[in-house]
């Protein structure tokens, strides 16, 4: 039975542990989250600072930046994304293997930020599904680490029982916008989708989205 060998908790204890499969799978997943850095602007500077020795993302399982999307678990989109870069972002997301998560780091990636202009994607959640939004312009490394730990919390709640539903991907959706036209209009109203996020939060009253004339130039 293995009782005669040195055990996991010292001599004389069992050399095996029993646990739930969900727990051990989630434990492995959340403590080896390799980020795919998609840094396009100043947020990427903070992301690099987070990975460097002072903040040291490796402590939390983001052991190395995976510059190949095929070996990455979490896409960190740090910075503004112009429309010309949108197909690149979508392709990188499509190339990542399941299970995968996405972090939208900073105001520009989350909502377009101050760049409510002709060339800029108004929130990458119109392009790819986003798990965690990190506010800030740019967020400090603590913010990014907190966002990654929220992803870890999210993983903790997952179960293999609903894995198929959680991780379902429509193969025909590859290379397509995540949001349909109606949702894009909603997300990208005046002042970007920060207004949308305010509204759905229920905490802030705003009728800005309702003014259709503001949506179009």
């Amino acid at each position: 039975m293995g009782l005669d060998k040195p055990g996991v908790l010292g001599s004389g204890t069992p050399a095996f542990l029993t646990t739930r499969l969900d727990f051990v799978v989630n434990w492995a997943r959340r403590n080896s989250l390799w980020p795919m850095p998609f840094g396009t602007a100043c947020c990427a500077i903070e992301m690099m600072a987070s990975a460097a020795s002072n903040y040291d993302l490796a402590r939390f399982g983001m052991e190395r930046m995976s510059f190949s999307p095929r070996q990455a678990d979490v896409l960190i989109c740090a910075g503004r994304v112009p429309y010309k870069l949108a197909p690149v972002l979508r392709r990188i997301w499509d190339q990542m293997m399941q299970p995968k998560w996405c972090i939208s780091m900073g105001a520009c990636a989350s909502s377009g930020g101050v760049f409510d202009v002709y060339s800029m994607v108004q929130g990458i959640d119109t392009i790819v599904p986003v798990d965690v939004y990190i506010p800030g312009c740019p967020p400090r490394p603590e913010g990014l680490i907190y966002g990654l730990m929220m992803v870890q919390e999210k993983i903790r709640g997952e179960s293999l029982a609903n894995h198929a539903a959680l991780r379902a991907e429509d193969p025909l959706a590859a290379g397509r916008p995540r949001a349909d036209d109606e949702e894009v209009s909603d997300l990208t109203g005046p002042f970007g989708n920060s207004t949308h996020q305010n509204r759905v939060s229920g905490l802030v009253e705003t009728d800005a989205i309702g003014r259709a004339e503001d949506r179009l130039p």
């Binding site: 429309y83 002709y118 060339s119 119109t126 392009i127 894009v184």
Partner: protein
């Protein structure tokens, strides 16, 4: 008028003092090139002025831009061998667009700014890529963002905006800040592009001819033997 009134008045307002309308024909230039230009191209040099204290600006005839810039490039007393920038300015209000050539003479350590005014219904000018090869991408940028066509340019296509961009030329004053299409349409169009269209290895190989030099001496002779 205060600054806020000018903002409220819209683009191009409050610029009545600008060179486009009422600048004096000529001020004493600090740069000898301006005097020389007036001697050589008397009728093609419309006026000159001094900006920001000591920067000489010359307004010239767009029809003769390649003659003038070619002369500035070649003449022994000028030698403007560095084209620092080509850009354009739209003052709005139906005023002509200005194409700006920022020149620098490395031997003489002198700067000169040459401007051409193009009417809105005739946005075309000759390309200067024959004089400075570096003008290639600069003129593409001006074409992309202002819609000014450069006659004789070897490869006049968009450089910053996507190839399939159909909303116009973004830096024109009549271009709406958020573009002409809805955000949904812009998103859909953006994702129809293929990122690899911008990085085609065949295209790069085609535009940069691969020159294989055959060295002289024994190695060259051996290589020549292999060719046969």
């Amino acid at each position: 008028m205060s600054g806020f009134d000018l903002v409220a008045a819209g683009p191009g307002m409050g610029r009545e003092q600008s060179a486009t309308d009422t600048a004096e024909d000529s001020v004493a230039p600090g740069n000898p090139s301006v005097t020389a230009l007036r001697e050589h191209f008397a009728e093609a040099v419309f006026r000159n002025r001094i900006c920001a204290g000591d920067e000489d600006v010359v307004y010239v005839d767009p029809e003769r831009i390649t003659d003038i810039l070619g002369w500035l490039h070649e003449d022994a007393d000028q030698q403007y061998d560095h084209l620092a920038d080509v850009t354009a300015v739209d003052y709005g209000g139906g005023r002509p667009l200005e194409v700006v050539y920022q020149l620098w003479s490395i031997p003489h350590r002198a700067a000169l700014r040459v401007k051409c005014e193009l009417p809105l219904d005739g946005l075309a000018i000759d390309s200067v890529t024959g004089i400075w090869a570096g003008a290639n991408w600069l003129e593409r940028e001006v074409y992309d963002l202002f819609g000014i066509r450069f006659n004789g340019h070897p490869d006049l296509r968009r450089i910053l905006m996507p190839d399939n961009y159909a909303e116009g030329h973004p830096l024109r004053k009549d271009f709406p800040l958020r573009g002409r299409f809805s955000r949904a349409e812009q998103t859909r169009r953006a994702l129809t592009q293929d990122p690899e269209d911008y990085y085609v290895p065949g295209e790069i190989a085609e535009r940069i001819p691969q020159v294989v030099e055959t060295g002289s001496g024994a190695e060259g002779a051996a290589a020549g033997a292999d060719d046969v």
